[in-house]
Amino acid sequence: MPDRTDAGRPMLRLRELTKRYRGQDRPAVDRLSLDVAAGELMVFVGPSGCGKTTTLKMINRLVEPTSGSIELDGEDVTHVDPNRLRRRIGYVIQQTGLLPHLTVGANVALVPRLLGWPSARVRARVDEMLELVGLDPAEHRDRYPRELSGGQQQRVGVARALAGDPPVLLMDEPFGATDPLTRERLQNELLRVQAEVRKTIVLVTHDIDEAIKLGDRIAVFGERSRLAQVGTPDEVLGRPADPYVKRFVGAGASLKRLHLVRLDAVPARPFPTARVTDDPALVRDLVVRSRSGSVLLLDAAERPVAWVAADDLTPLPADLAGVGLPATATLTAEATLHDALDVMLGTDGAGVILVDGDGRFRGVVGLDEVMAHVARLHAESRRHDVAAAAALGSAEGAA
């Protein structure tokens, strides 16, 4: 896992945070303590009613904590003026919360204006933010929210939350109301934006898959905000802390872990290749000698063109243009093993063709490579379990 955080310095520090509502004998949130590092994307995940949203809203004090403390960048903000505090914390909600009677530009400008920025700076910032979330400022700035699609509205919501350049961003089920396609696009967009702005983000969701995809770390909430486990997605999937987490992560945890491994983590297999312009007879010799009984044809720019087997070369064609099975199953190193598996199961050919950013051939990843990696993951988890059990055993022995 690449380290995406300024290690060590927590941007948010929640200590013994408790919320009791009048007339309820049990607290909604009970003595929750948690640190979120600067630049980290922390996901709160759990079933509805587990207190994750209440916890989120205590961070910007839309819900006032009954007891406990909140530190923002080393400063105790438990009792500062909430309005000033909230201008330093971006806030994105599921329903977007865009003001329908203000233009997109005016919506994005809200917090900078509250902060008293000069209007030239506000205007420049609005355009900058719209560009950041992939909306053309000239086209969208003067439109009203209802003239935009749901996905575009949610983007404006993110642009608005970032406009005041807050160090911290709170997102309450930001993609909950969008269709699966839009949701996935928005998730990718958020990761792209986050790679650019590196904010400290706390995101609430009830969708474990979303949590795995987005989170640097995941906090799995149990009953009444009990923190069942806090860890990286790989830790939560590979080593669930207790049966509750295991159940919540659900079936298919092994498959989900493949989401977390990028293709460049597994060694790509070299594969016999030939040029489209090569002599067909020489290529046939290559095919016959190859282990898999096929050769990958590349064009002049080293981009994959087709898989060629012995059958394709009998009778011997005059040249290799248009011969063989089109090689369409290409992925770049940023794709995950899950993507690779998906592509493999959906196409013919010896595996997924790994290409670089310009589409040039780099290697082939087959089912064997994926299975070998899964086996490695299993072995690692077992080693951890054994180590944990040993540690537990020695602790008990000492006691």
Partner: protein, 246 residues
């Protein structure tokens, strides 16, 4: 705020046209009548203009007073602290509306004598509740998510009220005010009974004296005032309603 497109103002030309036709028809019809001296005492430009002016003035002042009372009251009743008592307050005020405006006028007269003020107070008492109800509804229908978004961005409660709740309540509030004003224009004819003048004078004259031209003139003018006010209200609604909302 600039006008937004042709659709925003379409359909507003009909009412002035009807008023013009009514007034033109009345004028042509009166020209064909032989008016006697009694009729002429009422049907002359000075008298008609004065009565119309009184009528308009009474209606507009009452409407403005209603707005001045209902808006702050409605805002108060939608604040978190008072939200729970709002239905009760509206019920109590509903009793006031059940009393006929004429009865209110007479009762007020017994205590305060006759005149413009009594007529205005009666009109206000009559239309306060429906307007107040619209203010409460108008603010109440603002999506709570917008209020939360505003608070979450660091807007104060006052800023949320002025920049989110009130602008978004404008269409509902103005519709209520406009309806109250138009009904008020009709009820204001009763002002004649408390000596506050208005077009009611002409109508009552027509009835008491048995002079049809006087009665018709008073009635048509009254209808025209109501139509004109309705039009002015519609224009105000179009102009003041926030853009970007249906």
């Amino acid at each position: 705020m600039s006008g937004g497109g042709r659709g925003r103002w379409a359909g507003l030309a009909a009412r002035p046209l009807v008023v013009a036709l009514l007034l033109g028809g009345l004028w042509l019809w009166l020209r064909g009548q032989e008016l006697d001296s009694i009729e002429r005492r009422t049907i002359n430009a000075d008298y008609l203009l004065r009565a119309t002016r009184e009528h308009l003035w009474l209606t507009v002042v009452a409407t403005l007073a209603v707005a001045a009372l209902a808006l702050p009251l409605g805002v108060l009743l939608t604040r978190p602290a008072l939200r729970r008592v709002a239905p009760g307050v509206l019920t109590v005020l509903g009793v006031g509306q059940a009393v006929p405006a004429y009865g209110v006028m007479v009762l007020l007269t017994l205590r305060f004598g006759v005149g413009f003020r009594v007529a205005a107070v009666a009109l206000v008492a009559y239309s306060l509740l429906p307007v107040l109800r619209n203010v409460v509804t108008g603010i109440g229908q603002v999506d709570p998510a917008l209020v939360e978004a505003g608070r979450g961005m660091g807007m104060s409660r006052a800023a949320v009220l002025w920049r989110i709740e009130l602008p978004l309540a404008v269409p509902v509030v103005l519709t209520g005010l406009r309806t109250a004003m138009v009904i008020g224009a009709g009820v204001a004819t009763l002002a004649t009974f408390v000596g506050a003048g208005g077009l009611g004078d002409i109508i009552i004259n027509g009835i008491k004296l048995g002079r049809t031209p006087v009665l018709v003139t008073g009635s048509v003018l009254c209808a025209c005032v109501a139509l004109a006010l309705d039009w002015a209200g519609a224009v105000a609604e179009r102009a003041l309603s926030p853009r970007g909302v249906s």
